[in-house]
């Protein structure tokens, strides 16, 4: 059951039609990145927005997904589609393994533990020869003249439009899944755990299990994004894929878009990704770092003046038109 299906369908429709009106590669690129990061945000939202467990380590799942598909294509020529699914399962397995020790921790201790896990995985990949270590993997390019179906099979395209639709399909699937989960028994259980761990336990919810399910689903989705991202940019290295910056970017756009709300990630991504792309294109060529400087400053300004996130503004506008706000503000367990 999906509430507000109409809004969701309009968003997806707009994203599907908009790229057709322009041939500008920069716009397509921004939409692709926007969709990938919005999907990552949805995944992160499951564990942090709904279940209230702050994760600073989602780059780990993202990177595992990217590496799995890239490595099996690079080493054995196996289609990235298979790698994507495999990556999802590996990331889920890692999530399950790390969750057991980590979920005993509360608040910041948990957040730092997820960060530690991501760093450990990064260090392992840096010195692992099988995945080319710190050099990173350049994904082999198939000939430009290949048929479209071959290209689809190997997930490499001559222009960016197919990527937009692949990412859109992934995003649609993710947002419908999250929307479904939000209104399912599990969603309510997760929110109960977020609001009070002890009360949830007292009314017969097993928090450990439900947090584990949320983490596994979240890791799976993140890994799919990672595979797509790797195939899209065709080069990955551990410092880029497992960086704290990726984890924080996910946190950033979800929190400022509206945490604990299925629309939050897409709103956040729709603001921050074009912003970062725009500053990068306009100012990034100089290599002086001025683009990231301005981007950082903008983040500070937005957090200072709209600390409740952009969805707070959307909610206020909706109220003016006599509508109920689309969703609640998630309160996150950060007190240790």
């Amino acid at each position: 059951m999906v509430k507000n299906k109409k809004v969701l369908l309009i968003i997806i429709l707009v994203l599907a039609v908009a790229p057709l009106f322009t041939k500008a590669k920069a716009v397509h690129n921004a939409i692709i990145l926007l969709l990938i990061f919005a999907t990552l945000g949805e995944a992160w939202n499951l564990i942090t927005g709904f279940a209230g467990q702050t994760s600073f380590g989602h780059a780990a799942f993202f990177g595992i997904g990217a590496y799995t598909s890239a490595v099996i294509f690079y080493r054995y020529g196996i289609t990235p589609w298979l790698g994507m699914i495999l990556g999802g399962f590996i990331a889920s397995a890692v999530a399950a393994v790390m969750s057991y020790p980590c979920f005993r921790l509360k608040g910041h201790y948990f957040a730092i533990a997820t960060l530690a896990v991501a760093e450990i995985i990064k260090q392992v990949f840096v010195s692992w020869n099988y995945v080319e270590g710190a050099t990173g993997i350049s994904i082999p390019i198939i000939p430009r003249s290949s048929y479209f179906l071959t290209r689809l099979f190997y997930l490499q395209f001559n222009d960016k439009l197919p990527w937009v639709y692949i990412c859109l399909v992934l995003f649609t699937a993710a947002i419908f899944l999250c929307s479904f989960l939000e209104n399912s028994k599990m969603g309510y259980y997760l929110k109960a755990i977020r609001e009070s761990h002890e009360v949830a336990e007292a009314i017969g919810i097993n928090p450990a299990n439900y947090k584990l399910y949320a983490m596994i689903i979240s890791a799976f989705i993140s890994a799919l994004c990672g595979s797509i991202y790797a195939q899209y940019i065709l080069y990955i290295d551990p410092f880029m894929m497992f960086s704290l910056d990726i984890s924080m970017k996910i946190v950033l756009l979800t929190v400022l878009g509206g945490i604990g709300n299925i629309y939050g990630p897409i709103i956040g991504a729709a603001i921050f990704i074009p912003l970062s792309e725009f500053t990068r294109i306009k100012l990034g060529g100089s290599g002086t770092g001025i683009d990231l400087m301005i981007y950082g400053l903008l983040i500070v300004l937005i957090t200072c003046f709209h600390p409740k996130g952009v969805i707070g503004i959307v909610g206020r506008i909706a109220e003016k038109f006599g509508r109920k706000p689309t969703g609640g503000e998630g309160s996150i367990e950060t007190v240790s």
Partner: protein, 285 residues
């Protein structure tokens, strides 16, 4: 003998880590804010030491008070300009503000001073070393460790002995009650942020004598400092000190026995192991 050498190196490095972590644990414990810009404060302090050295030929040891003052002021400005506005905001907003600020500082440094590595080569302590029963210890490390110990003790004494320190602790325990007792909590927060900056400022000046200085030089230490702080328990200065020593030793011994490429992995692994036994850090409650 080589083991003794490694342990000595680990302990010395541990004290320096501890000083960075003490700064972080202050803001974290008192205001419940993860300051992502902490590593960038360190970097700015290293640059301050560098410019003092290359422009005014001031030795990093002489520049120590300057660095402390500069980063103290930077901390206070950060508090009154950014943190004050977001401290009451829900959830992770404050953290993101500091993340944005760290990005700004890092790239500002790159914009102003290029990404090139810089070194302070002929500081007063450079190139000297002491030999103790076969263990050779570099002078920069010894001076840095000693200064770290002294500063950590000073901060501990300040928090426990002075009125301001006690007021900060009261604010940390319960802001509203502290306010009712007549404590200017805003001012206490500003002082805490400044003190946190002062610690990391001192660490920066000390580290500048034996680490390369570049815009991303603080990033790694800030992640390690997060782990140290969590290892020791948030807001616990003693915890940060012991956490720093554990991490310093782990890094040195792990680097020797497993290979240097795994030393950071081991540092994070130690955190995950310790936290299983003490879920709120070594000295947390």
């Amino acid at each position: 003998m080589i083991i003794g050498q490694i342990i000595a190196n680990g302990i010395l490095m541990g004290f320096i880590y501890a000083l960075v972590a003490v700064g972080l644990t202050l803001t974290w414990g008192v205001m419940d804010i993860i300051n992502f810009a902490h590593g960038e404060f360190l970097m700015i302090s290293m640059y301050t030491a560098f410019w003092m050295f290359s422009l005014f030929a001031l030795d990093p040891l002489g520049a120590l008070p300057v660095c402390i003052a500069v980063i103290f002021v930077l901390g206070v400005i950060t508090y009154s300009g950014i943190i004050k506005r977001v401290i009451t905001a829900p959830g992770l907003t404050a953290l993101l503000a500091t993340f944005g600020f760290s990005m700004f500082l890092k790239n500002l440094a790159q914009y102003l001073w290029t990404p090139n590595y810089r070194y302070i080569n002929d500081a007063f302590v450079s190139g000297k070393s002491i030999s103790l029963g076969g263990i050779v210890i570099g002078m920069p490390q010894i001076v840095a460790a000693l200064a770290s110990i002294i500063l950590t003790i000073v901060i501990m004494a300040f928090m426990d002995r002075t009125r301001t320190g006690k007021a900060i602790q009261a604010t940390a325990l319960n802001k509203n009650t502290a306010l009712l007792m007549g404590i200017n909590t805003e001012k206490m927060y500003a002082i805490t942020f400044g003190l946190s900056g002062a610690c990391v400022g001192a660490a920066g000046a000390l580290m500048a004598t034996f680490f390369p200085i570049y815009p991303a030089s603080g990033a790694l230490y800030s992640v390690i400092a997060f782990v140290i702080v969590a290892l020791g328990g948030f807001g616990n200065i003693k915890g940060a000190l012991f956490g720093g020593l554990i991490i310093g030793l782990t890094e040195a011994l792990g680097g020797f026995f497993l290979g240097t490429q795994f030393k950071y992995a081991l540092v994070f692994l130690i955190y995950l192991i310790v936290i299983q036994v003490r879920p709120k850090g070594l000295f947390g409650w």
